[in-house]
């Protein structure tokens, strides 16, 4: 019975040797060699799409196909610039000079382009733009992106108050966004200088008739409340797309974690050079790298600690050291949903788990903050490619202040904090929980390893495990408040400190919605800062917020990293803008 097995084993060995040897054979695809699949662009990364609804998606993997590839905005960032704009669905970029911004800075007028066709062939009207933007404001899933426009237009960051009751009137929305002739007009609550940077990335337009025909809100003042705060999968637009962009959605294969886009031949500009774009989630790094090496992938995304294996691959180019307006954080969940949650152990403070309010204790959080090895994380997870942030306001933004203190590794302080935690009981009972992290994100895997090692070394009763989950699963887990402690990055929605203060510190911000952190003083300061025009005063307010963040410690700010992309050298027309969540496929070609 064994002889067959031996023959089989010998055969497997021979095949393995042959495969490994063939990998060593020079696979130079330099100049002159034919481009593989010249009309199709394949990007491999490790995240996957949560939703394709532009009014709901709020993670970089979902957003990559959405903007600016399938849906477009009224204006857009010009090239790599963060402060120059180009007209898109509007024909002009408003300014004081062209009088499309009123002298008081409160009214913005966008003349809408004519003859733009949606992917279903219908013609875009100013009414579609107004409908889409109102839908973006009013759909407002908790913890979603609606606050980006609600904040400057209505002066609130949610359509609902703390108790979940609707707090805005449709009339206010109608006044804030309206169609006047061929124009779309925005009326702001207060002057807000970065408003154009928000419009440039968050005013996606979809056809109203298409949405209504598929059961979405009909634009009626009386019915919008029924469509407020939906579940992720509620709307037709969740997995169907109909925009004006250079690509149409061909297929979203949720099983294969793959989105396929096809060229929109009726695009209002010259159609894209690429016929088809495939964005696929491949958590396994080696697979991604081999696909790139063989020319089966044109561009791969990888963690910084895989960079050394991507440098110098024949026929590829590394776009290196790209600055990011982003920060990687380690989040604490103040109110963990322990129901059917595999990550909390027993769900009690008995040494075999953690209770729901485990991280609500500031001593617990500080214990973790002092235990963490920041330098090890910077060097090991991010290959030294980044800086340790001073609070939520990252370098490059108004309000960044290097005098804001940071937590540094100190075993003694960590022990002291843990001994005080949970009324002094924690040190005796110990705890056990699991950190879920994004599968394929080896930087976060290293970060989780650091937490496990450093905290575990303080007390044998402190047990931490970590497990990989697909990025879309992690996102849903967090929305269900089931995350315990988790790594999450924040990428600028628009380059302004408000986009970092609000998501981290405001009760309706992205992270507090998921973690349960509340501080009324922070809420007040966030509102005050965004309503202040004087840069010096604003800066002072952001420093106060950074200090609150240091003292309250809602999360740990680990690193402001740079990023890089590795692509085949036959890829042309690629450019980088720190606001892009992924690639802009329109300008790309393969030759």
């Amino acid at each position: 019975m064994r002889t067959v097995t031996w023959i089989k084993r010998a055969a497997v060995l021979a095949v393995t040797v042959a495969v490994i040897t063939s990998l060593g054979a020079p696979t130079v695809r330099g100049a002159g060699e034919a481009v593989k699949n010249p009309d199709t662009f394949v990007e491999l990364q490790f995240g996957d799409v949560v939703s394709l609804d532009p009014a709901l998606a709020y993670d970089i993997y979902s957003s990559e196909p959405i903007w600016p590839n399938v849906y477009e905005t009224l204006i857009m960032y010009s090239g790599s610039s963060l402060d120059k704009f180009q007209p898109m669905l509007a024909t002009e970029v408003p300014s004081l000079a062209n009088r499309l911004i009123s002298a008081d800075g409160l009214t913005y007028t966008f003349p809408i382009r004519k003859g733009v066709h949606f992917h279903d062939g219908s013609v875009m009207t100013p009414g579609d733009a107004v409908y889409s933007i109102r839908r973006f404001l009013l759909q407002d899933q908790a913890g979603g992106p609606a606050w980006l426009l609600l904040s400057p237009l209505l002066g609130v960051d949610s359509t609902r108050d703390d108790s979940g009751k609707i707090q805005i009137a449709f009339a206010d929305v109608a006044r804030a966004v309206s169609a006047q002739g061929d124009n779309v007009v925005f009326r702001l609550k207060k002057p807000f200088a970065p408003f154009l940077t928000i419009v440039a990335a968050w005013t996606f337009v979809m056809p109203r008739a298409w949405a209504v025909a598929h059961g979405d809100w009909d634009g009626d003042p009386g019915t919008w409340q029924r469509y407020n705060n939906p579940k992720t999968e509620d709307r037709y637009a969740f997995d169907h797309m109909n925009g004006t962009g250079p690509f149409t959605l061909e297929r979203w294969d949720r099983q294969a974690k793959e989105v396929t886009l096809a060229r929109h031949d009726g695009y209002w500009r010259r159609p894209a050079s690429l016929q088809r774009v495939v964005v696929r989630s491949v958590p396994e790094f080696a697979t991604r790298r081999l696909a790139l090496q063989q020319g089966d992938a044109d561009l791969v995304v990888a963690s910084l600690n895989q960079r050394s294996q991507l440098l110098g691959l024949p026929g590829t180019v590394v776009q290196d050291n790209l600055p990011q307006i982003a920060v990687q954080t380690l989040q604490f969940n103040f109110k963990i949903n322990t129901e059917a949650n595999p990550d909390v152990g027993s769900g009690r403070l008995d040494g075999g788990g953690i209770p729901s309010d485990f991280f609500a204790d500031v001593h617990v959080r500080r214990g973790f903050a002092y235990a963490f090895d920041y330098a090890g994380n910077l060097g090991g997870a991010y290959a030294g490619k980044g800086v340790i942030p001073h609070g939520p306001i990252v370098q490059g933004l108004l309000g960044f202040d290097p005098t804001v203190p940071v937590y540094t590794t100190s075993r003694e302080k960590a022990v002291a904090e843990f001994k005080e935690a949970m009324g002094g009981k924690l040190w005796e009972t110990g705890f056990k929980f699991t950190i879920p992290y994004t599968a394929g994100n080896t930087a976060r895997q290293t970060g989780a390893q650091i937490v496990k090692d450093t905290v575990g070394a303080l007390n044998p009763k402190f047990q931490i495990e970590f497990r990989p989950v697909p990025s879309s699963t992690l996102i849903s887990l967090l929305l269900a408040h089931k995350g315990t402690m988790y790594f999450l990055g924040w990428f600028a929605d628009y380059p302004d400190p408000h986009d970092f203060a609000q998501p981290f510190l405001s009760a309706n911000g992205y992270f507090p919605v998921r973690s349960g952190y509340r501080n009324p003083e922070a809420d007040r300061l966030v509102d005050a800062a965004v309503g202040t025009a004087d840069p010096a005063k604003r800066k002072a307010l952001y420093k106060q917020l950074s200090m609150i963040s240091y003292n309250d410690l809602p999360c740990l700010f680990l690193i402001q990293p740079v990023t890089y992309y590795t692509m085949r050298s036959w890829v042309h027309g690629w450019y980088y803008n720190p606001i892009f969540w992924g690639q802009y496929f329109y300008t790309l070609s393969k030759r």
Partner: protein
Amino acid sequence: MTAVRSSTPAIPLSRTPSPGRTAEGGWHRTLRRFRRNPLSVLGALIVAFFVLVALLAPFLAHPTERNPFMIPHTGYASDPHPPGPGHPFGTTEEQFDLYYGVVWGTRTAFVVALSVVATAVAVALVLGSISGYYGGPLDELVMRVTDIFLAFPGLILAVVIVAVLGQSVRNAVIAIAVVEWPSYTRLLRGEFLRVRDMEYVQAAQALGGGDLHIITRHVIPNTIYPMLILASLNMGGIVITFAALSFLGLGAPIGYADWGQLISLSHNWIVGTAGDPFTFWYTLIVPGTAIFLFVLGWNLLGDAFRDVFDPRLQGSR
């Protein structure tokens, strides 16, 4: 000289001759048969070597962590480092020391393999005995249950069980034991069917021996050898299954001294760097060699056991 107690009511059941032991002198002959095959000796040597490594692990690789099974690592740099001073086998991803991992991984391998075999044999002894000795509906029931278990592909079943129970070494052992017990049970039951009608068993029954007595004293000693052969041949397979579970992230946690875990840590580095696929060869070759030798050793030893113990092969050599 010996006084025979004539009035004893207990039945003086004579020990039945075991198939492996003949009049020539059992162990002597066994050893000779064993030595005749150089591969058997090689297998025994390899296994002995691993036993030594496992026993001497604290001296070969001094533990620095509280849990000696956690591999020490210096820093969190991702790129593995080749063998050099301080790290005779090099380091793998996140600087886990490969030498330490291989040495303590030997203990893990033995712990896992022996636990699984012990569990599977224990279950087989109970269920196989009952099933084989009594037959009838009970036999039918046990055999259909083993059929159900055997109908699932082993590794898949193990993966499902660990996924349900949660990732840990203990749960992986349980999962593999659940996969393994049916084959042991079936084997033992088959042997029971063969032996239970033999004259010495019937003689024992005729003399009024109880079922338990007959099973434990007469049947099991004469049916256990095929089990031992299967177990020794299986030791390697169990370690491979456990390594597969660890590789899939379902066995030992990251940093645990386990060969499959070490191979899992190498999977990002197997393809090497541009132009040189062998840059990080040691991340795969070192733990791979350990598994290879361990499995080879047990397979050779298992084959040797079969040659020596299996009565059906006695005439052939």
